[in-house]
Amino acid sequence: MALKIEHLTGGYTGVPVIKDINLEIKTGEALGLIGLNGAGKSTTIKHILGLLRPQKGEISLNDVVLTQQPTAFKRQVAYIPETPVLYSELTLKEHLELTMLSYDLDEGEAWPRAHELLKMFRLDDKLDWLPIHFSKGMQQKVMIVSAFLADTSLLVIDEPFTGLDPLAVANLISLIKEATAKNKMVLMTTHVLAEAQQAVSEYAVLNNGTIEIVGSLQEIRTHYGLKPTDTFDKLYQILNQEQQNE
């Protein structure tokens, strides 16, 4: 049981942004995808979500291949985008109802969970509002609540901490920990490692469209020859240098 990305090459209109990527996330694992802007993190995510067609390679989740059974695959994936994407016509309650309908959740079981999440993110008194009128942080909370409500085996989270207040960041981290404890998989892209490492112990470094190393932050430091006195930010300078040498 795992997310398997095998020899994935892909991008936009024939131009490969990611090249021959291999990645595996096993049940109960959370993996952080790190790299500079334009390294291919979002492109990788778009492939996993079925928003881009792979030029080569295959993505499967718990033995369900994305290109062969897209709906069965998507039913196992929940996504929190970097920028909230909402339906302007739907109230907060209806966003949750749509999630229940789409993921075929039992209403009787889903609503107590939904109320728990809403309370955690202080949205429980706004069920009848149109989230399109919320602030960006509150909209992001709607995305988080919907994704964790879906109760899928894989959570894909793109830059989750931007715009969230510290309380929401702490809640999100505890939800990710809870998810991995329940044998779910998490794939997260982020630049905010201080927060991420509270929930994620394994990272994949993506640069120039390829994965250079998968390992713990300490293993990554060793791989790039960072001194104990160097901050982790130096890694990004090295990646930038590599890009310029390419």
């Binding site: 979500l49 339906y87 016509e89 229940m100």
Partner: protein
């Protein structure tokens, strides 16, 4: 800033021209010529038979001259990004707005001259206004529009805003009564000019950027809404309304729902593009039926209206395709055409019901009318059972 304004005006003019060419296509021009011709014929005939010098004629002239003032707000072409990039330019905005104000006067001036020209025979022959007084009234009406735009311009600064409705009401009163007592017009102009003077004298030069951006967006939306009645307008922004009072039309339980039906229902009720179309077309069918006062014509026209409503609502099927979450969620898109048919069927049956009820209220009730109501229902069902499934099959 003046250069920026001119550049934006030139781009805006080209864009408006593009849409105007689409709106005033060959068929519409021909229809307009016919309609205008019919109106002028009716006007010429009425002028022969109409009694002269009735007491209310002068106020009618004033009120009609006032109508062109409703068209055309101050065009500022201020963009949201200006909040970021021009926010240091408060004191230069006066420079920026000068060409904007001149541009904003073009449309109302053309409309005023057109209306004044058409109204001239009635005003001078039937209402007994001397050509000199009439000419002066037109010039004063133009001055009212100028001051109205000047006030709109001054409203863009922080401080108390003068409502457009207040100015419009004042202008209507002055023009309607001023035709009897020219002194009122002069006093009215004096009041408006002193209001402008008060505004101009204000020390505050802080530009209210957020207000300006919202005002311009609202103005643009009005223009786009007008264009979108004839053609697709890609720049148009849709402002969704919650409309809680319509929630009773939504199913109480999710048991028989699926994601597509769930979304289409809410789009039909809350997206003004869709609901306004349904309401507009229904009102149109009712009005036409009332005007023709014949069951046969009412049936034919209403059937056409129902068909056109469906035809214009068909693009709803792809409405959510641009939403990434719609693609990420495991929503089966295979049968969404059928889901849309089910949702639109409810909408059309409500339309049929409303038209039927109004027929019973406004048309002579006889067996034919009842037959017409039944026939309209059959037509509606045929549209939903045969035409709609065929058109949505591909989706």
């Amino acid at each position: 800033m003046n250069e920026l304004a001119k550049k934006r005006l030139s781009i805006n003019f080209k864009q408006s021209l593009k849409y105007l060419m689409l709106v005033f296509n060959d068929f519409f021009i021909i229809a307009l010529i016919f309609m205008f011709g019919a109106l002028m014929f009716w006007y010429a005939q009425s002028m022969k038979t109409m009694p002269a010098n009735l007491w209310f004629y002068k106020s009618i002239v004033g009120a009609i001259l006032w109508l062109p003032l409703l068209a055309g707000h101050l065009v500022t072409l201020v963009k949201k990004a200006d909040l970021q990039f021009l926010f240091t330019q408060d004191e230069q905005m006066d420079d920026y707005l000068k060409p904007m104000l001149a541009y904003s006067l073009i449309l109302p001036t053309i409309l005023l001259l057109l209306v004044a020209g058409i109204l001239f025979p009635f005003a001078t022959v039937k209402a007994g206004i001397s050509p000199l007084n009439y000419g002066l009234s037109v010039i004063i009406t133009f001055l009212f529009k100028f001051t109205q735009l000047e006030i709109e311009k001054k409203n863009l600064l922080f401080g108390n805003k003068i409502s457009n409705w207040l100015i419009n009401l004042l202008t209507l009163l002055v023009l309607s009564f001023g035709m009897y007592y020219p002194l009122i017009i002069i006093v009215g102009v004096g009041v408006v000019l002193s209001m402008v003077g008060y505004f101009i004298a204000r020390k505050n030069q802080m530009f209210d950027w957020r207000y300006a951006v919202n005002k311009e967006q609202a103005r643009k939306n009005q223009v786009y809404a007008l264009f979108s009645m004839f053609t697709d307008v890609e720049e148009k922004q849709v402002n969704i309304k919650r409309r809680k009072y319509l929630d009773f039309l939504l199913p109480k339980s999710l048991a028989k729902e699926n994601p597509n039906k769930f979304l289409y229902r809410r789009s039909l009720l809350r997206n003004p593009e869709n609901l306004n179309l349904l309401v507009r077309m229904t009102v149109f069918a009712i009005l036409v039926s009332w005007l023709v006062q014949s069951w046969a014509w009412a049936l034919g026209m209403s059937a056409l209206v129902i068909f056109l409503t469906v035809y214009q609502l068909l693009p709803m099927v792809n409405e959510f395709d641009s939403n990434i979450m719609y693609r990420v969620y495991p929503i089966v898109r295979k049968n969404r055409g059928q889901d849309l048919v089910k949702v639109l069927t409810s909408g059309l049956l409500i339309q049929w019901l409303l038209i039927g009820v109004f027929w019973l209220l406004f048309l002579p009730i006889d067996l034919h009318l009842l037959e017409a109501i039944a026939l309209l229902l059959v037509f509606t069902l045929l549209v939903t059972l045969i035409y709609l499934p065929y058109k949505t099959k591909k989706n």
